[in-house]
Symmetry: none
Subunit: 207 residues, 4 copies
């Protein structure tokens, strides 16, 4: 007979506390950077003992990652019915819009925190980027199969070129992640990703 997972002894974890901590963290992030926030402040805001935070998360960044992911579920939304080219464009535009606001600030804070704590960066990669990247990669591969994207460069590089400029804007503060940027960037990558014109057999391509 199949043994059901037994609950460990002792009082069960309080879901109310967990939720309060995550919510308070997001609330505090609206007005300050992750670095400025203290665990004490989170505990105070959530009406929770500090120990409860330390018991379940290794760092405040881990709390933020979880808070971010919880509020992020199923935002990626549907791209069905679109061709892969359109789907990629759709995703890029969505990401730019998303990163222009609160979510972008949070992602930036997490990456920043990750520069002095490798665990943070690793966890964020595993819990956020891996899935997204895999999904995007699939679209790119599909587009290559259909001849919508050129396939004379590795798909990996294509992915980097599609998404990196968005992260650079997010983090460098060079220029805003606005509509204008979305248009320019999408237009540019669509031109670039398009397969080069088929050469007539008579004109050999130079280089």
């Amino acid at each position: 007979m199949i043994q059901a997972a037994k609950r460990p002894p002792g009082r069960a974890r309080s879901d109310a506390s967990r939720t309060a901590i995550l919510n308070s963290t997001l609330k505090l992030l609206e007005s300050q950077s992750l670095q400025q926030i203290s665990i004490e402040a989170i505990a105070r805001e959530a009406g929770v003992g500090k120990g409860t935070i330390y018991r379940w998360w290794p760092s405040k960044a881990a709390v933020v990652i979880e808070a971010f992911l919880v509020n992020h579920i199923s935002r990626v939304s549907a791209t069905k019915g679109m061709g892969p080219r359109e789907a990629v464009i759709h995703i890029l535009r969505l990401l730019i819009k998303e990163y222009a606001g609160r979510e972008g600030r949070i992602v930036a804070q997490i990456i920043a925190e990750g520069q002095s704590d490798p665990d943070v960066l690793r966890e964020f990669r595993e819990r956020f980027w891996y899935g997204r990247r895999a999904m995007a990669l699939e679209l790119v591969n599909e587009a290559r199969r259909l001849g919508e994207f050129r396939d004379d460069i590795p798909a990996d590089c294509q992915l980097d070129l599609l998404f990196s400029p968005i992260y650079f804007r997010l983090l460098s503060g060079q220029a805003p992640l606005d509509q204008e940027f979305a248009d320019a960037h999408c237009n540019a990558v669509m031109h670039l990703m398009a397969p080069p014109v088929r050469q007539t057999p008579t004109t050999p391509k130079s280089r």
Copy 2:
């Protein structure tokens, strides 16, 4: 006779202290992140009063920026004699190599710190990025004039596509800034930036 600018009264600024502060900062950065470093630690290491640091720099990030720039002068090196296309490749490879080491860690720390202090980001842009970007932009424009780079997308976007993936690797920890990446990235952007083959009017484009 022309009056030389009069030195203000009082003891002059100690250059020994300034140098000691900048050097100690770089030394500390070798073993810890900018966030972990405290101004007290810098003062201690430099044998300097805390007040001396606060008097001349607004934040530890500002110290790091200055320390970084001082040790960075004229590293960019020569590209003369190269065509703009080669020059761009050269610069990309150089940057990747540079960012793979200590310099990259420092740049990453500064960007991270900038996520919670806009002044830091602004100062880094103005004192580091603007000049480099202008130089790179010139090369790109030259390449476009010579037909080595396509000109159907804005030069700005081209710049972003050339450099952003490097920064993404630097900051995301997805993958290392190694030789393999340098090859792949340079190869990819060269393919992408090359002008599309001229269509002969008689051959209609497929798809």
Copy 3:
């Protein structure tokens, strides 16, 4: 018919737990002060839930008092066959020897704890001192009746003088409770307690 005390329903108190708690407490007291010991540590050491301690004792000092008394029963031993004077000496020497070791440390800890918790002091008086004092008082009174002790000062004061110096050494750390002290103290009080030399009936006692 007389109704026997009815046991209330529900699971009976675990004597194994009670014993484990008392023993663990004594064990911990061997290496640290009562103040340093935490209830958590006692529970951990005894393999017992914290609640079980709180259910049966109001404070850790109460646990210590009980642990001390349990291990103390019938140590006072026999003085039968001795005259009251010898019995008093015997008791003093015994007490000094006892307080020189583990027992002394524990008594000192309890008194110390009692300085910030009157209940502790009260309980210790009632459960430990009252009985001992009554017994000692009886001996003193017997000694007075037999003319072995002077009776020109109250018996109470005599008791204080007999025992206080021992407690002062125990608590003040001025000097150790060693054999030398035992000899000196016993000798001194025997001299002092002895009735003053009988005056010849013709000379009326002055003062």
Copy 4:
């Protein structure tokens, strides 16, 4: 030439803080025990950073000792003009009265704290008891020289017998340090310390 003690560099210690800390400590001690008081509470009450307390005192007990001693100077008062016997009585009565109030509570707290921190006890002995004991010992010796106190027992023991009962009452809570006790105790020790009547039938004792 005699070299004056050079002040070390840096900002001088703030006497205002020192005073505030000592006063706040005494104030807090009026309503709670030393054990209940936290260093945080002292700092809060004194409007002082915690570090300032830790910088100058090793423990809260050390603060209390200093606060106690500062407020204690020259309380011992004059016994000049009295014979040693009267002086001893005077001191005993004074001590009982003193220990019946706030001072007594503080001394008790310090002794209690000392049971788990030998340094505390040692410091209290050195800074408080040694001087007092030396002074009292001198009086006793003088009394012995003058024949007011018996000299058939060691002076040390006499001292113990004079003072220990006061400390026992202070710490045991057996009975209060009231006027009645003062009378009884002083009367008793005066009887006991008086030299025993000379038993040569021919020489009547002259006081």
